[in-house]
Subunit: 248 residues, 2 copies
Amino acid sequence: MPSETAQPSFVLVRPQMGENIGAAARAMWNFGLDRMRIVGPRDGWPNPKAVAMSSGAGRLLDEAQIYDDLAGALSDRTFVFATTARPRDLTKPVYSPEHAMKMAAEMVAAGEQVAVLFGPERAGLENDDIAKANAIISVPVNPEYASLNLGQCVLLTAYEWMRQAGDVTHVSEVPGNKGDWATGVEIEKLVDHYEERLEEAGFFYPAAKADNMKLNLRNLWSRMRLTRADVQLLHGIMRQMVRWKERG
Amino acid sequence: MPSETAQPSFVLVRPQMGENIGAAARAMWNFGLDRMRIVGPRDGWPNPKAVAMSSGAGRLLDEAQIYDDLAGALSDRTFVFATTARPRDLTKPVYSPEHAMKMAAEMVAAGEQVAVLFGPERAGLENDDIAKANAIISVPVNPEYASLNLGQCVLLTAYEWMRQAGDVTHVSEVPGNKGDWATGVEIEKLVDHYEERLEEAGFFYPAAKADNMKLNLRNLWSRMRLTRADVQLLHGIMRQMVRWKERG
């Protein structure tokens, strides 16, 4: 069963190689999309090579809707984007994947039925296909080298969908041990520990530079955002050096 | 000849299949990146399958720099991102590709030497590899289905590089001693210095825990973004403790 999340359909138009259909299914499902439509697949349907390539995302192929022509695939859609390698001279708005998927997210949230078209591997969408679209998505690529394949184009668009749809788990700047940051008191104790021992060891020399050296050391610890585990490790290092000296 | 644009190096760590190295080259060049480094390619180098897959981006393979180990590949780098399928329990900041490439664009514009690590196909980066990184990039994927391959991971990161590098209009303030970050080689030497001395001092005890303790210590240094001055200070601390012991 398809997921219940409202989402655009991704429509593969006359795809040639089964492998690429399978790769497209995987690319979509990586980003939570599972409504695939296929128009006139060159090698018929079902396609064993597509299945072989789709590992883990085979459900998308089982549930894919197959159409003879693009008009059929778009019959229930209210807004259609067409992806092209480079914007052609057609009077339609051209958007980046980011902008287009932001629009798609807003339209889908408002109950619209959105489709995104992807052309066949070799030639891309024909002008007749693009004529059925409301807008164009153009991936900004190196002008000297534009060689995205079908699966890659689906991947980037699906990635932008997930980002824009807000399904993106906000990957935070917070390190793994969340909530385990050392407190100010713990940092102070670390500063004191190092200062005391290094004083004893004659590190702060010459005297005229001692204050500055201490300041640098304190800055080092405080700039670093230490966790409790870090603080323990640093205490342990110093304790061990002292023990070693005392054994000596 | 590599392009003259300042840009990060993409480092493939122990890649297995030549096809994937070729796909990575294409993915990079689609978005204007052409500095590839390869660490310990499983099937040796050059790799005919990589060349066959790289159509149009073969120059990246000709110019790729090959290393025996990751430390070598990072010796001249000042900031290292590691891509992982899912953030592990290491206390490092975790960023989305978007955020990370924005940071990278700012750092590169400020003259820093940035690397992005991509792990081998099956297993991804090992903890020892990640320990050499300053921060982690995690692609936000469908939690029910995370199946990005090497080429796809390179593609999404390169895509975000192009997006973000285009957006950087002014160089933001880099904290600390601007332009004076420690390089990979300098961090390696610091790691070695502390390991050797602490070994001597009997810090890595019990033996069963030694490897883990060393990993934690390495993570501590790499997470912190040390300046050259910091590194000197930390060397100085250790040297002084040893001197103190020897005087004792």
